[in-house]
């Protein structure tokens, strides 16, 4: 059975088409990643699925319940860790958890025991009775996750869980999510604008761009779907010769998807290591100086570029 089903979801905010027909399905027990730059429609999708926002049209169900027809049932079945922490700063970690449990109808000793268990799970026993104002960003995030789990939800939504965390806290959270996915019988929907995060955590990803899902699949499948390695050439100067260089590189045998981005040009060839000497000497013959050249196995970055025709990091910075 599918734990999450979204069918042709549409949502418009004033002049912005936030969701332009989003459809996807997440299997029970799966970790599914919605990947895309800021403003692509990931968070709006999550807000629809967590009943915070009503879609203009389309249909969605979570844990078998329709999000519009039976929002209360959906709310009881899900945990939601929002992009921005929902921790009550003036309350202690334990108080935050107890209140959330009570809202979910939990009581007495079983609630207390569950809260203790969660505090242990996220490694916060020592900080449990301190006011959350003093917590670090990573601790608040771990508390957010514990809050989302207090009622043993069947589906957990993690909206940009590591945004704003330092690399160390991010790595720690990744381990946390891995463990949750393995230990608990949980379906996790994760949104992220970090390609490496989706690659690392999600069993399947859907790439979202401008309110639509452009491609969906396992990260390795998506990468394998791209033929060959990427080659990135950084020209020494932005002398307006990038287009000329692109024409030279693009004419290379087997080179596809050649694109120019400032003084950087990218292409895809069957074997990067073999192609580089030829590319370098061809550019050298025309007197175009090269600052650096790199080759890489396909990444989700390349998948994004391949399916949207746009560079992920440039899109994200603009968004």
């Amino acid at each position: 059975m599918d734990a999450i089903v979204a069918e042709d979801l549409r949502k418009r905010y004033k002049s912005v088409e936030a969701l332009d027909g989003v459809s996807f399905a997440v299997r029970e027990g799966e970790v599914f990643g919605l990947l895309g730059p800021n403003g692509a429609g990931k968070s709006t999708s999550v807000r629809v699925l967590t009943t915070l926002t009503k879609p203009d049209s389309g249909r969605a169900s979570v844990a078998g319940e329709d999000v519009v027809a039976h929002p209360q049932r959906v709310r009881s079945a899900i945990g939601y860790v929002a992009q921005d922490s929902g921790v009550d700063w003036e309350a202690t970690g334990r108080e935050n958890l107890l209140l959330q449990g009570r809202i979910h109808g939990m009581r007495g000793p079983s609630l207390k025991a569950r809260v203790d268990e969660l505090l242990g799970l996220v490694g916060m026993e020592d900080a449990a009775d301190r006011v959350a104002r003093g917590y670090s960003g990573g601790m608040k995030r771990r508390l957010d996750i514990a809050i989302g789990l207090v009622h043993r939800p069947r589906v957990l939504f993690l909206d940009e869980p590591t945004t704003g965390l330092d690399p160390e806290a991010r790595a720690a959270l990744w381990v946390e999510v891995d463990r949750l996915a393995a230990e608990q019988q949980l379906t996790i929907l994760l949104t992220t604008h970090y390609l490496e995060e989706a690659d690392r955590l999600a069993e399947r990803v859907a790439i979202v761009s401008r309110g639509r899902i452009v491609v969906e699949g396992r990260p390795d499948e998506l990468k394998a779907g791209l033929r060959g390695d990427s080659v990135t050439v950084e020209l020494a100067e932005a002398s307006g010769r990038a287009d000329e260089a692109a024409a030279i590189v693009g004419a290379f045998e087997g080179a596809t998807e050649t694109a120019v981005e400032g003084a950087q040009l990218r292409t895809r060839v069957a074997n990067g290591a073999q192609a580089i000497p030829g590319i370098l000497s061809a550019l050298d013959a025309r007197g175009i100086p090269v600052a650096s050249v790199t080759t890489a196995r396909p990444s989700l970055d390349d998948v994004y570029l391949h399916y949207t025709g746009r560079d992920f990091s440039a899109e994200d910075a603009a968004g």
């Binding site: 807000r47 209360q72 939601y80 929002a82 309350a91 108080e95 809202i103």
Partner: protein
């Protein structure tokens, strides 16, 4: 209904506990009303005509300060809502099966409880200054009811505004804009008989004045129960109306996310 009561109760506990952790807030809640009582009480104590039938100006003033304090407190109640919106606590509750009405109602009730505690403090200090509640136990109850209802009327209004503007600066501006005029358009400092006619006419429609009149009847006159009862009913209706306004703006907020 039981769920609404339970959720409201927990959220009142949450907000009260959060406030109890702010020593400065507690100090202000205690010191500010006392300053008003002692300062104004001294300032006008030599003017016998201001007493409006009370045995001293401070006796006349105490029920007024109780009400002033309650409604000022109410006008600021929306700040807690803005803080909860900013910290995304509200969204967290919304994605959980929390009672929607409880999220708003708890803020209003919390303001009412704070006002009752402050009224008790002011009455106790007033007692030390020789102020006697001539209405006895019923008089005390009327003062407490007037102060809590008044706080709730303005807390409902304040939360409604908070949910519309969603910014602290706009909230502060509104609270200031509403607070001082309503104070001077009431008989807090000065009996209705001494007001210019037009202010007296406006004051009749000022909820702050309903509270002050009821509380003053209870303290100074120790009677006029029927009139006080009417004022309390007006306040109850006004509190229901402003709370309804706040729940309506809360729906507007939900639609905007």
């Amino acid at each position: 209904m039981r769920e609404l009561a339970r959720h409201t109760g927990w959220m009142v506990v949450r907000q009260s506990r959060n406030l109890m952790r702010e020593p400065i807030w507690i100090a202000m809640m205690v010191i500010q009303p006392l300053i008003w009582l002692l300062l104004y009480g001294q300032l006008f104590s030599r003017v016998p005509s201001l007493r409006g039938g009370a045995s001293s100006y401070v006796e006349f003033l105490t029920p007024g300060i109780v009400c002033m304090n309650a409604f000022f407190g109410g006008t600021w109640a929306g700040m807690a809502m803005i803080s909860d919106l900013d910290r995304h606590v509200v969204d967290r509750f919304l994605a959980a099966p929390a009672s929607r009405v409880a999220i708003v109602l708890s803020q209003v009730i919390r303001a009412g409880i704070t006002a009752i505690l402050q009224a008790l403090l002011l009455l106790a200090v007033g007692y030390a200054l020789g102020v006697r509640v001539h209405g006895g136990v019923a008089g005390w109850l009327v003062v407490l009811a007037a102060s809590s209802l008044l706080a709730m009327v303005f807390a409902g209004f304040s939360n409604g505004i908070a949910l519309l503007v969603r910014k602290e600066a706009s909230m502060i501006a509104t609270a200031n804009f509403v607070g001082l005029p309503l104070m001077f358009l009431s008989s807090i400092l000065l009996g209705t008989a001494l007001m210019p006619g037009w202010i007296g006419s406006i004051a009749r429609f000022n909820p702050v004045n309903w509270g002050v009149e009821a509380a003053r009847n209870a303290v100074v006159t120790g009677g006029a129960w029927w009139t006080s009862g009417q004022f309390l009913l007006f306040l109850l209706a006004a509190a229901a109306a402003t709370t309804a306004f706040a729940t309506w703006t809360f729906r507007a907020y939900q639609r905007s996310i």
